[in-house]
């Protein structure tokens, strides 16, 4: 079952157990939900954007360990970024998680890079990417992101 341990690494299990920035904050400026119809993952993201900076990034919802850990890691890496910087990180993340790409990681993504092993489980890639698409939707004023 070494494959399974690659997916459910300690870092992921730990973030799943103790998700950072989890829970609906008292106030926010942008919000969206991310839906993964395949598995019933639901992630809600709440952003506070001031002067073009993501001052706070929170999430909640009911989702699997991969989606929860990914969201938790994402909030840590993206809080404090400018929207432009966020877009750059999102682009790197998408590239990293692209099924067709090499297993390339990016230093800027920090612990998020550990998610690269999820690519071994194609049906779970969408769990990992859900929260990022939800933030993108929130920034663009769309209420819902669905993983294709």
């Amino acid at each position: 079952m070494s494959d399974l341990n690659l997916l459910y690494k300690q870092a992921i299990l730990e973030h799943n157990r103790n998700p950072r920035n989890f829970g609906k904050p008292d106030a926010w400026t942008h919000h969206a939900e991310g839906l993964n119809a395949i598995c019933g993952d639901l992630v809600e993201v709440y952003l506070t954007i001031k002067d073009g900076v993501l001052e706070a990034v929170h999430f909640d919802g009911e989702s699997c360990a991969i989606a929860t850990a990914s969201a938790s890691m994402m909030t840590e890496v993206t809080t404090g970024l400018s929207v432009a910087q966020w877009q750059a990180r999102f682009a790197q993340f998408k590239q990293m998680m692209d099924k067709r790409s090499q297993d390339q990681t990016f230093a800027e993504l920090g612990q998020v890079s550990t998610l690269v092993t999820v690519k071994k489980f194609p049906s779970r890639i969408k769990s990992a990417t859900l929260c990022w698409y939800a933030v993108d939707a929130a920034i663009h004023g769309r209420p819902t992101a669905t993983t294709e």
Binding site: M1, Y8, C39, G40, D41, E62, A67, T68, R124
Partner: protein
């Protein structure tokens, strides 16, 4: 052994023997079905209905014999009362657009139940949008059974059509459809029954039920993908306008006007899924030869066994505990998301489904995003249920 008839069950997954418990999504097919499909392609490969040559004749005969087998399986008065469709989804859409649409005006009501599959919700929502009609819903209780206390109010003078699922694909609940059909008819309301999950599991008798329409999916009753059947009372089918236009459904075409063909051809525009229809006929014959009593008996044994076996998993909660139930088990486990369970037990060879199973309203009721669902068929074994339980214990351990 019956199980040997299903070659798909012999697969290995991640080096482990496959334990296929995703039958409500799609069933495995017996050799008889694969042989029928291949037999068509190898020895009767021709289009049907329109040919004078030998292969076209034999293909037509096989196709129409298949219709006859399905009529026998569900005890339809005549094979002509059966329309070949892609599956239940198309069956419901066809009835919505050709039978119900022209009967609706704004404010009229269509009655469904809280247990419906999206395929028996969305076509009615689309129809409501097109006509201004309103969708009404028979509620359900914590056991996942329909609550019929308010049926008198829900079935009223505004109700123009009713559509209910026979057996829930998510919870396994077997609905009292005969009673519902009677109640609908007492109000003069025609009714469709979604038999996607019933046909593979129980004896269906459309004449005894007296439903106006009944629809089944071939791929869930051990037949080919892309096949299915819609039964309708002849008086309805004869009166309905066609669904799709095209070849075979007409008897005369000029640019000025067109004369439609007789039922069922009127509803089968274009070249149908010939191999699929023939394969579905073989599936019906296979089920008849196994015997519905035997299938029902085996379902019952597996249901009792699984219900008890799952109690070995601490923190596992079964969603849907109806008194009348098919061997379908939706469950959640404390601290482990359904999606993670699915991935982990897959690594032990166990195929289950996770998510909302195309029944989001059911999970909204239970305040859940989804569940893990193990759905059994008569060819499953107690040993397979044991593997499921072991693998669930391992998933729990991983997240402990």
């Amino acid at each position: 052994m019956l199980r040997d008839q299903f070659p798909g069950l012999n697969n290995q997954v991640h080096g482990k023997p496959l334990v296929y418990l995703d039958n409500a999504a799609t069933a495995q097919r017996p050799l008889a079905v694969l042989d029928a499909v291949n037999g068509y392609y190898l020895h009767h490969n021709a289009n049907i209905h329109r040919g004078v040559h030998a292969m076209s004749e034999s293909a037509t005969e096989l196709y129409e014999q298949a219709r006859g087998s399905l009529a026998r399986l569900i005890n339809a008065p005549s094979p002509k009362d059966l329309i070949f469709v892609r599956g239940c989804t198309e069956g419901v859409n066809l009835v919505a657009q050709t039978f119900v649409r022209s009967r609706l005006k704004a404010g009229d009501e269509i009655l469904i139940s809280h247990l419906e599959h999206h395929s028996n919700i969305v076509p009615w929502q689309i129809l409501c949008e097109q006509t201004g009609a309103v969708l009404k819903v028979i509620p359900m209780n914590e056991q996942g059974e329909l609550v019929l206390d308010d049926l008198d109010r829900l079935l009223n003078a505004r109700t123009k059509f009713m559509s209910v699922v026979h057996i829930s694909n998510s919870l396994g609940t077997i609905n009292p459809v005969k009673k519902l059909i009677k109640a609908a008819h007492d109000q003069g309301v025609p009714i469709l029954v979604d038999g996607a999950q019933a046909a593979p599991h129980i004896k269906v008798d459309v004449q005894d039920l007296d439903c106006d329409f009944y629809t089944v999916s071939g791929h869930k009753m051990y037949g080919p993908t892309g096949s299915g059947v819609l039964y309708g009372k002849a008086e309805h089918l004869n009166a309905m306008p066609p669904y799709q236009g095209g070849g075979e459904m007409i008897s005369k075409v000029t640019f000025e006007s067109t004369v439609y063909n007789a039922v069922p051809a009127k509803f089968e525009a274009g070249t149908p899924n010939i191999a699929g229809g023939i394969g579905l006929g073989a599936a019906a014959e296979f089920m008849l030869s196994v015997g519905l009593e035997r299938i029902e008996q085996r379902d019952h044994e597996l249901r009792i066994y699984t219900e008890q076996a799952l109690q070995q998993v601490d923190g596992l909660r079964i969603i849907g505990t109806a008194a009348q139930k098919s061997p379908v088990f939706s469950f959640v486990i404390d601290g482990v998301h359904a999606h993670d369970i699915g991935t982990i037990i897959d690594h032990y060879g166990v195929a289950v489904r996770t998510g909302h199973h195309c029944t989001m309203p059911i999970f909204q009721f239970f305040g859940l995003a989804g569940s893990c669902r193990a759905s059994l068929a008569f060819y499953n074994t107690e040993q397979e249920v044991d593997v499921l339980v072991e693998s669930l214990l391992k998933a729990k351990a991983m997240f402990a």
